[in-house]
Symmetry: C2
C-alpha cells in the first residue's frame, strides 16, 4: 500500500514541538508478546528523547526490560471537539535507562509532584529515543517526522 | 517477581465502568514487530468489547490486520493533579471487525461527529474484546480485572 503521509514541514515541526511538551502520555510496550498501553509521566530531554520515571514493579517496566522497543503518544485531547480532528503525535523507537541522579534537579524542577516517589529505589528513568514519528495534524493531514524534526535526534 | 496487584472489588469495578465511558483512547498495536500507540475514537459495546472506528489507510488498522492482539487505555487525565495519582485502566485483548451497518444508528447516536466519516468505504469498526485488564486506582492501588468485571465478557 502506498504511504499517504506527507514529509515534514515547518508547521508540522512546530505542532510536534508543542505536543512534546506534554507532562504525561500513553506508553506502548510489548509484554509477553502482547501489546500493552499504560499512562506514564514524561519529560522531553532535548537531544536525547522522551524521559519517563517508572517503577520497576510496574508491568510497563517489566515489558521494557524484556523488549526495549516502545512507542509514546504524548499528551491528551484539548477541548471538546471530535478528538479525531485534533493533532496527535506518535513516537516509535527504543528505550534505555539513564542515570537518575544526573537528572534529579532537572526532573524535579519540571515535575515537582514527582518528588513524592523520585527517590524510591524501584524508580528509574527510561528514555525513549525515537526512530520515527507520525504526526496526525487533523483529518487527512498526516506527516512522517524524523528524530531531528523533533529535536530528539 | 510476585504480582503485587489486588483482585477486583466493587469499588474497582465501578471505577473501571466510569473509565470505559471514554469517547477516545490510546490504542496499542504491533506494526512490523514494533509497538505503536495511536489515538482512536472508542465506544463501549456492552457484552462485546470496546468498539473503534478506524480507517483501513491508517497505521493502526494495518497493524491490527497483521496482528490482532491489542491494548486500549481509555480516556485521559482529568484535572491538574499529578496524572500518576489518577485512576487509569488498561485493557489487553484481541480485536475483530464487526459489521458496520448493524452498528450505524447506535454509533452515530453516541458519536454524532463521526457522521463526517462513518460511511467512508475505508472505515471499519473493530472491537477489542479484553482478555484481562489492569486498573491503577492511584499510587500503589492496582487491581487485575477480568472481562466480566468490566461488563465486556
Amino acid at each position: 500500500m502506498a504511504d499517504t503521509h506527507r514529509p515534514a514541514d515547518d508547521a508540522a515541526r512546530a505542532l510536534a514541538a508543542g505536543l512534546l511538551e506534554a507532562r504525561h502520555g500513553a506508553l506502548g510496550t510489548v509484554l509477553a508478546g502482547a501489546p500493552l498501553v499504560t499512562r506514564v509521566g514524561v519529560l522531553r530531554l532535548p537531544g536525547q528523547g522522551m524521559g519517563m520515571l517508572l517503577s520497576d514493579l510496574s508491568d510497563h517496566a517489566r515489558a521494557l526490560a524484556e523488549t526495549p522497543a516502545a512507542s509514546i503518544l504524548p499528551g491528551e485531547v484539548a477541548g471538546k471537539d471530535d478528538p479525531m480532528t485534533q493533532p496527535r503525535l506518535t513516537l516509535v523507537g527504543h528505550v534505555q535507562t539513564v542515570e537518575k541522579a544526573d537528572l534529579r534537579a532537572r526532573w524535579l524542577a519540571a515535575r515537582p509532584k514527582a518528588q513524592l516517589y523520585f527517590d524510591f529505589a524501584d524508580f528509574r528513568i527510561w528514555c525513549l529515543r525515537p526512530d520515527s514519528a507520525l504526526l496526525n495534524a487533523g483529518f487527512g493531514r498526516a506527516h512522517r517526522l524524523s528524530p531531528s524534526d523533533l529535536g530528539l535526534g
